[in-house]
Symmetry: C2
């Protein structure tokens, strides 16, 4: 691209480093900002700078938080005996939205993925094991995505927990509520039959 302005070129180059945003989209976004009042861009920039400078990870669950111990971990009405293991903050938000879980979380910060160069030492697995060894936790729920990386991570953690005499569970895999059986993939449908539940509990 042949820019008439260094300032414009610079802004477009920076914006186009974001994932999924190419040069053309970046130019469109930047020109949009130029048409808006300056305050909008200042607010945007300040929000981003404040975020990266001020954000903390919760000491207990490693979730993104404004304070040392996040709201969920600091909430005395939550059940400290059940820990749900998730990949990142988006999963915490998704599960919180269901209002079905009253325990605490443990955010791994990713999944074991040799291809992306992420090993167990890059995740917060040691901290989880240490927490379990303290003895107050009764159940660990694995809630990672059902991919090879997710299953590997689950299994790696499970192996380390095996000797600690703790209950482990994983979220149910099956046909999504409202989905047609005929469009479900075979593995999901197969699992949903093997892991069928008493009819009364589904009511």
């Amino acid at each position: 691209m042949n820019f008439s302005s260094k300032l414009l070129e610079n802004a477009v180059n920076e914006v186009s480093q974001l994932p999924g945003i190419g040069k053309r989209t970046a130019l469109r976004l930047v020109l949009h900002l130029l048409k808006q009042p300056k305050t909008q861009t200042h607010q945007l920039s300040n929000a981003l700078i404040n975020l990266v400078d001020e954000i903390k990870l919760c000491e207990k669950c490693h979730n993104i938080s404004d304070v040392k111990v996040c709201e969920i971990c600091a909430n005395p009405s939550r059940n400290e005996e059940i820990i749900c293991v998730v990949e990142d903050v988006r999963d915490v938000m998704a599960i919180e939205n269901t209002a079905q879980f009253k325990g605490l979380y443990h955010v791994l910060g990713g999944k074991i993925s040799p291809i992306e160069g992420i090993g167990p030492q890059n995740l917060t697995i040691d901290s989880l094991i240490a927490k379990v060894k303290e003895g107050a936790i009764k159940e660990i729920i694995f809630a990672l995505s059902s991919t090879i990386e997710g299953d590997t991570t689950n299994f790696y953690i499970f192996k380390q927990l095996e000797s600690l005499n703790i209950k482990t569970s994983t979220i149910a895999r099956g046909i999504a509520v409202g989905d047609e059986l005929e469009y479900a993939d075979e593995i999901t449908l197969g699992r949903s039959i093997v892991n069928r539940i008493p009819f009364e509990t589904s009511l």
Copy 2:
């Protein structure tokens, strides 16, 4: 969305005000920035702030520029007698990329569009007419998109130039180079036959 952090929520809200970016995409972008070194976010924010605070519009052609008179208008080797009327900086960049135009530009800043509340007074049409009245310009090339708004804007300007005894032209509409005839729309194909050119000039 149920954020665990005000800082995160604030950043996501600001990013999701950009056109075509929803809350989920904004969250993905913001979490990406959090995984990168802080300097990247600082560079991005500074580039945006510098842009909106420092950018100027060229006094002559109204194109986006770092200085009072843009590079193109300040270039003595360009032909000041031909003015190409375009909508915005992207069109200038596109035409400059062709390296086929050696005249100057006039950036309108939009098209007349009653639906979006853009009238002639919101564009730089008066400045264009004033420039023409000075007498040095010999030809005006209309290079707006071929839409109702573009045609309306062309016609509005054309009517004001009519009495000034100046040559006006519009960029050629026709079948794109490399396109198959059978897939061309009827209006474009029809126009390309009516406005056919001597074969020798197409070589």
